[in-house]
Amino acid sequence: MTDITAGRLQRASRIIVHPLTVRITHWLNALAIFIMIMSGWRIYNSDPIFPFYFPVWLTLGGSYDGSVDIHNEDGLAGALQWHFAGMWLLTINGIVYIAYGILSGHFRRALFPVGPAAFLRDTIAALQFRLPHHYGAYNAVQKTLYLGVVVLGVIMVLSGLAIWKPGQFQELTCLFGGFDVGRVIHFLGMTGILLFLIVHIALVIIVPKTLPTMITGRAPAEEFHGKD
């Protein structure tokens, strides 16, 4: 899988903005996140760590009433099956994405450099609706959010392993402050990803032309601002 270097490959004045690997892993990751968060909410409901529950209709794991009627069980079995199936998709897809991002130079080109000053400048501009969207070049807010959510993803997989296997991976569990603290970190990581998703999807709604680009990978050449 080689990085189709942004800008070099032109087809009828349209330019590849998102390499194929990035697009495939993006959508597989979207599916994995959807499975993990919704099944995770039902698992959370079986023993809440905060004084609230998630509405059952927002959760994934099979018919709730059916489970209660047939098994006298709150639909936890189905949610666990989804969660421990989704973990493979999330982890393997995440490893492919990160390996590709590092080895192809995609991370270096697309996400760096980024610093607090640029982040602050672009955040203020964004809040004043003065931050234009450019294909092929992320602004500092985008860079920070994308880097942040990758880090959160890694934390989610590791804290998930820590609370799934507090015996076999007890050193990792210790690293996350023990089983109970690990559960809280796993929950807060989910919250962080959820906040990212809200901003991410809100921005797609505000700038809808970015959605087809994430599918086809292409954008008009005249709007391209990439480095290459």
Binding site: Y44, D47, V56, G62, S63, A77, Q168
Partner: protein, 254 residues
Amino acid sequence: MSPTSSADKSKELLRTSGTARQIERRLFLRQGLSLGALTLLTGCDVTDTSAVQGVLNGISHWNDRAQAALFNPRRLMPTYPESQAVKDFRYNAYYSQSQIPKIDAEAFKLNLSGLIENRRPWTLPELYSLPQESQVTRHVCVEGWSMIGKWTGVPFRTFLRRIGADLTAKYVGFECADGYYSSIDMVSALHPQTLLTLKISDEILAPKYGYPLKLRIPTKLGFKNPKWITAMFVTNRFSGGFWEDRGYNWFGGV
């Protein structure tokens, strides 16, 4: 998780025809395509289509194998100082405390069957006379809660050797006075911290904790720690478990 769906029945019928496989695939695709719609409409009914449930069960079996491969038979689970052990341990079963099985100590017998040389049943005084060990470990429930407790009992591998169990067999199964049942892999059964438990917090197991006999296996989730055990067997045939047959992962390792 309906036991039989209309899709199951139609599949059964299709198997008899020559083009069965082709149509089955189409059926699978159609179910696959309707997934997205189902998700949006109901939010949670996806699991109930038989094709999806089949895939999820398949991955759960794969996870059994992944956990068995991951399991280190010599790795001890963390132990804690006795001061951290909870005295008033949580009662946990799928029914209320009023329905706890009442065991007559005099009449109690632990029945043995399967690949065991000496299948003579064991009485309580005989069990109490065996060498015992104590442990302070964390009981991790599949629901997410956990609790540290102190348990005392006969190391299970000592007991398995004593009764002449075939240690090369794949599984050890348990039957309980409340109708509960479960089974574990032999490698985990032989783990040094697996205890045929007689006491909790230095006292004979109270009825609500599984009197007179419970399996304490800290390398596995709580539902793999059967209480009120009345019979056990050694076998090469997979026999599942009460919650496992309702969708919980069978290996259930921590």
